[in-house]
């Protein structure tokens, strides 16, 4: 099929609906948020139109710097964990029998139907001292006695990885299914053990997909604000938690908006950097 560029104005017709939706549900709210980030807060009320840099100036401080740094590190750690688990898992899944594949995919999709709140409370129960998994370990003699594993950084990481893993698998799955299975067979005939073949052929051949997945999970994890509150200590709270706190509990919309805009800019910059680095390596 030959694709021709649109000739007349009417040819752009099919674009009207998606473009409209995008404007109404994305461009307008985002523009509003940017505008609000420059507004002035009214004590005890809402905010009034103005153009001040005060909201941005306010979080140029060690405290917010630390929170931003922690949010980025946490999101990167979750992305790395998801890819480290997701790539080998999806590779094995794509090589298994069809019925097994369907079963796993259905199970993973069902995780997507769980809300963040449910995931958070489920993990907090599972990691608690009174009803948690450590009771089982203690019963089996692996541990002296049950102990609380939450709140902790590990608990936040575990729950966020659990939540993001289905997305990871769903993004990786099509690429791994399409990957020519004779590539690994060829590597084996050339003397590579199956594990060596995986790391020297499958992973490098999927480099672009893996980078794209890392970016997606990273952004997904940046937006998480419930799990750090449910499973972490205050030092594990991310920028998203603070944004929620400012917007909802402190009623400081302009400040919350400014933080949100800043977070978007920082993550865009990081994604841009990753893409740029990828291009450079490809050209080299």
């Amino acid at each position: 099929m030959r694709r021709e560029p649109p000739q007349r104005l009417a040819d752009y017709g099919p674009l009207v609906f998606p473009a409209g939706m995008l404007i109404v549900f994305f461009v307008i709210p985002f523009a509003t948020m940017i505008a609000v980030s420059f507004f002035e807060r009214q004590q005890g009320g809402f905010y009034q139109p103005a153009f001040v840099w005060e909201n941005y100036a306010r979080f140029i401080s060690l405290f917010f710097g630390k929170v931003l740094g922690f949010s980025l590190v946490l999101a990167m750690a979750v992305a790395a964990a998801c890819v480290a688990i997701g790539v080998p898992f999806t590779y094995l899944l794509s090589r298994s029998v069809r019925n097994v594949q369907i079963l796993w995919l259905v199970a993973l999709l069902s995780i997507l139907s769980l809300s963040e709140v449910m995931i958070g409370f489920a993990w907090s129960t599972l990691l608690s001292r009174t009803a948690g998994i450590t009771n089982l370990f203690a019963y089996l003699g692996l541990m002296a006695g049950p102990q609380a594993l939450t709140p902790s950084f590990g608990a936040v990481m575990t729950a966020m990885t659990y939540q993001a893993l289905p997305y990871t698998v769903l993004v990786l799955y099509p690429a791994l299914v399409r990957l020519d299975p004779t590539l690994t067979e060829a590597a084996r005939t050339l003397g590579a053990s199956p594990i060596r073949a995986f790391f020297t052929v499958v992973v490098p051949a999927l480099r672009n997909t893996i980078v794209a997945t890392l970016i997606m999970v990273f952004i997904f994890a940046l937006g998480s604000y419930l799990l750090p509150q449910l499973l972490g200590r205050p030092q594990h709270w991310t920028l998203s938690v603070l944004i929620t706190d400012q917007a909802i509990y402190q009623s400081n919309m302009p400040f919350a908006a400014a933080m949100a805009v800043f977070l978007v800019l920082v993550s865009l910059a990081l994604v841009g950097l990753a893409v740029y680095a990828g291009r450079r390596r490809e050209a080299a």
Partner: protein, 344 residues
């Protein structure tokens, strides 16, 4: 005993038997073609030799060593896949050096060997190119060089030339055969193209239904087919049923013929190649038939003759073309030398 030996090799997938009790001996340095229609088990047989599939029963030995259970990566072989399976993320040079890199050969020796192989496949200077930017024939050569990088004991090729156009394919067949003779490497090629098998092989192994129907030199396969499947699959042939009479005579094509050496069988089938069918004047000892169609292809002339309710094809060169027209009665002579009695 040296060489590659398959003993009673069987492969079952569920209830389907892909390879059925195959015995084959491939002496060192020979070129063997596994030939057969699709689904005949030839690729499965090759995958078992490579270790990519394990036989359900039977054993495989190479150079006197039982390799039936040895994993693929420890077999030290070279294999070219139908899809070629070049690594898309590596350059031509890195693809060829892959087996050396895996074995920890140092960089300088890797480069030396890669240059040697690139010269052998007439692609010197292509080392840093991306494999995605090569033509079909060039990709083919790179896949061959990659498989030969460690100078393997055994060189396997699965339908290696099927992606190339006809002209390039014929050229590559000759090149591959010359390469194999120069290196003296034991080579096994899977193919469904009989011309390819006839061009390259020392031994052609004809397979059907998971079994070896005949394994012999190309000329013998053509001249002395073991059964009607082989006779029909290799080239074209006339399959003629016969019934033996007393005193060495036999009834075939509705006539009684003398002098054919039909052995002891009472009934059976003989195979006569179209170029061995002689058309003469009717009468005498000749079988009588009627010309139904003449196909003049320029290089050869095919004459279709109906005799005893069966169609016989005779092929001759334009110089020796029979002077006949459609509807004319002709005599058919069969030479005992070239009329092969087929096993049931």
């Amino acid at each position: 005993m040296s060489g590659l030996i398959l003993s009673n090799v069987t492969k079952q997938f569920g209830t389907f038997t892909a390879v059925d009790d195959v015995n084959l001996s491939v002496p060192d340095g020979t070129f063997v073609c596994l030939l057969g229609p699709s689904g005949c088990g030839k690729t499965t047989l090759m995958r078992m030799i490579a270790g990519l599939d394990l036989p359900s029963t039977g054993s495989i030995t190479l150079g006197g060593e039982d390799i039936t259970e040895v994993p693929t990566h420890k077999r030290n072989l070279g294999m070219v896949f139908q899809s070629l399976a070049l690594f898309p993320h590596l350059t031509v040079g890195e693809n060829i050096a892959y087996a050396l890199r895996i074995r920890g050969v140092d960089k300088a020796d890797q480069k030396k060997r890669v240059d040697e192989l690139l010269a052998m496949i007439h692609l010197s200077g292509f080392s840093d190119r991306s494999v995605n930017k090569l033509s079909g024939g060039q990709r083919q050569r790179v896949a061959i060089a990659r498989a030969l990088a460690i100078s393997p004991k055994l060189f396997l090729l699965d339908e290696p030339l099927s992606a190339l156009d006809a002209k390039l394919r014929e050229a590559m067949q000759v090149e591959l055969r010359q390469l194999q003779q120069r290196l003296g490497i034991t080579t096994i090629v899977v193919t469904h193209d009989q011309r390819e098998a006839m061009t390259m092989a020392d031994t052609v192994v004809v397979m059907n239904g998971g079994q070896i129907r005949q394994a012999a030199a190309p000329v013998d396969i053509y001249r002395r087919p073991a059964d009607s499947f082989v006779a029909d699959f290799i080239g074209s042939t006339n399959l003629i049923p016969f019934a033996a009479e007393a005193s060495g005579r036999a009834t075939l094509l509705g006539a009684s013929v003398d002098g054919l050496q039909l052995g002891t069988a009472k009934t059976g089938t003989i195979s006569v190649r179209p170029e061995d069918v002689q058309l003469t004047a009717p009468g005498g000892e000749a079988i009588t038939g009627t010309v139904t169609f003449i196909r003049d292809l320029g290089g050869t002339v095919e004459t279709f003759v109906e005799a005893g309710g069966q169609q016989i094809v005779a092929v001759s060169s334009p110089r020796d073309r029979p002077v006949v027209t459609v509807g004319q009665a002709v005599g058919i002579r069969l030479d005992p030398e070239t009329s092969v009695v087929l096993a049931k």
